[in-house]
Amino acid sequence: MLVGIASGSIGPFILLRRMALVGDALSHVALPGIALALIYGIDPFYGVIVFLIAAAFLVFWLEARSRVPPDAIVGLLFTASLAIGILMLPSADVIESLFGAFPVLSVPFLVLILCTAAILAGLCFLLARRFLFRIVSPDLAKVEGVGRAYDLALLLIFAMIVALGIKLVGTLLMGALTIIPASIAKNLSRSMRRYIITSAVLGGAISVAGVWLAGAFRLLPGPAIVLLGIALFLVSLPVVRRRAA
C-alpha cells in the first residue's frame, strides 16, 4: 500500500510534465538491471536501482538538449534495453520480472522497502511546491531560485519509486501504477493540493484492492492492479465531462 501511495504521490507531477511515457520507458530500463543481477547472483532489486538512477540522469541530461527530440531517443534507448533484458534473462524469471509476483521478502528487507516508500511519498509532498513551480513556469521558478536541480530530484524520486513498484507489478506495468491514480485523480480534482492527495490515496487503495483480488482469484498482482485502476478511470470519466459541461 505504501508503494501505491508513493506512486500516487509522484504521478501528478509526471503527468503534468507530459512525461508519462518517459516513465513507462524508464521502468523498462530496469530489465537489464534485473538480468545482470540474476546472472551475478545479486538481489535483482539492487540491479534495478542502479540502472534506474543511471536512466534518471540520462533523461535529465537529454532534457537539457532540446535540439534533439528527447522522446524519440528515450523511446529507442529504452525499448533497446527491454530487448536486451529479455534476451539476458533466464526464461523462468521473465514472466515474474515483466508482470510482478507476490514478493517473498525477508522481514528486514520488507521494513527497508516500507521505510523507503514512506520517505519517498513524504518527499513528494514536501517538494510539491517546487515541483509544481517548475511545471507552471520554469522561467518564473528560476527567477525565484527554484532551478533545474528540482527536475533532477523529481526524476530521481520517480526512479526510486519505480524500483520499489517493480517488485509488485513488474517492469511492464509499473509505468501504469504511477499514471493511473494520477489520471483518475485529475478527473476528480479542481485544485492541485486536492489532486496530489487524491492521487496518493487512490494509489494506495488500488494497490491493496488489486493485491486482494489477485489473491482471491489466483491472478498475477500486476495485471490485477492495473486493470482495476483502468476500470476506476473509466468510472471517473463522466465526472470530468459533467464538470466541463
Binding site: L132, I135, V136, A141, V143, E144, K186, S191, M192
Partner: protein, 240 residues
C-alpha cells in the same frame, strides 16, 4: 542612495543556435526610475530580458546590485488548461507554506489583488480558465507579491483592451512612486513611454539610442529604430 545603479550591463551579447540576436548592449538601470525598452518585433527585447534574468546564456557583463529582489512579468504565460491548478495555488508557489498558508500571506495577497483590481473570487478559478486580462493582472499581482525592488515587465498589456492598459500603467506608476520600485518595461506604445518612463532604451539587435524620451525619440531616431530609415535613404538615393 538615490540614483544608485540597480543594474549595470556592459557589452552584453546573446547568440542563439549560432545566430547573433544581440550585441554590444550596454546600459544602466538607476534606482527608482522607469526605463522603457522599445524596438520593432524581433529586435531581441524579450531575449534581452531573459538574458538579464540569467534564463539565457550570454556574453558580457550583467551585474545586479547584490541581493536585489526582482519580480518578472513574462510576455507569454500559458498553463496546460486541463491541469487542476487554482489561481490561489499559483500564488502559493511563492509561499514557504504551500499546504497550509499563513494568515499573513493571505492578507498580503488580498492587498495585492486589490491593487490590480481583482477580487478574492479569482483565487478559486483554475489557471486555465482565466481570461487574458485576468491572467495579466494576476501575473502583475504575483510579481508584486513580495514587494520586489525591481520589476521587469515584458509588454504587460499585450492582448488586453485599451481601458485596461491605462489602468495597468497607472497602477505601475503608483507602485513606482509609493514603493520606490524600479521599473524596467518593454512597451510598444510610445504614449506610455512618454507618459510614464523617465528614460528609454531603443533596441534593435543592439542599442540604437538611449536617454530621456523627449530628447531621444525624435523623428530620425524612430526612423532608424523601426527601419523606415532604409526606405527614406533609398528614396534619397533614387532622387540623386
Amino acid at each position: 542612495m538615490a540614483n544608485e545603479n540597480v543594474l549595470t550591463v556592459e557589452n552584453l551579447a546573446v547568440t542563439l543556435d549560432g545566430a547573433p540576436i544581440l550585441r554590444d548592449v550596454s546600459f544602466t538601470l538607476r534606482e527608482g526610475e522607469a526605463l522603457a525598452v522599445i524596438g520593432p518585433n524581433g529586435a531581441g527585447k524579450t531575449v534581452l530580458f531573459r538574458a538579464l534574468l540569467e534564463l539565457l546564456p550570454h556574453e558580457g557583463m550583467v551585474r545586479w546590485r547584490p541581493g536585489v529582489k526582482r519580480g518578472y512579468v513574462p510576455q507569454r504565460f500559458s498553463v496546460d488548461r486541463s491541469a487542476p491548478i487554482t489561481a490561489m495555488e499559483f500564488f502559493l508557489l511563492k509561499s514557504t507554506r504551500f499546504w497550509r498558508p499563513s494568515a499573513q500571506f493571505i492578507e498580503h495577497l488580498d492587498h495585492e489583488l486589490g491593487a490590480v483590481g481583482l477580487t478574492r473570487e479569482v483565487l478559486k478559478k483554475n489557471l486555465g480558465e482565466l481570461s487574458g486580462g485576468e491572467t495579466q493582472r494576476l501575473l502583475i499581482a504575483w510579481a508584486l507579491l513580495q514587494h520586489p525592488e525591481v520589476l521587469l515587465l515584458d509588454e504587460p498589456t499585450a492582448g488586453v483592451d485599451t481601458g485596461f492598459e491605462d489602468s495597468i500603467y497607472a497602477l505601475l506608476h503608483r507602485v513606482q512612486m509609493e514603493r520606490g520600485t524600479t521599473l524596467l518595461l518593454i512597451s510598444h506604445d510610445l504614449n506610455v513611454v512618454y507618459r510614464y518612463a523617465q528614460r528609454v532604451l531603443c533596441v534593435n539587435r543592439t542599442v540604437v539610442c538611449q536617454g530621456t524620451p523627449v530628447e531621444t525619440l525624435n523623428q530620425d531616431a524612430l526612423a532608424a529604430l523601426y527601419g523606415e530609415s532604409g526606405y527614406y535613404r533609398h528614396e534619397h538615393e533614387a532622387g540623386h
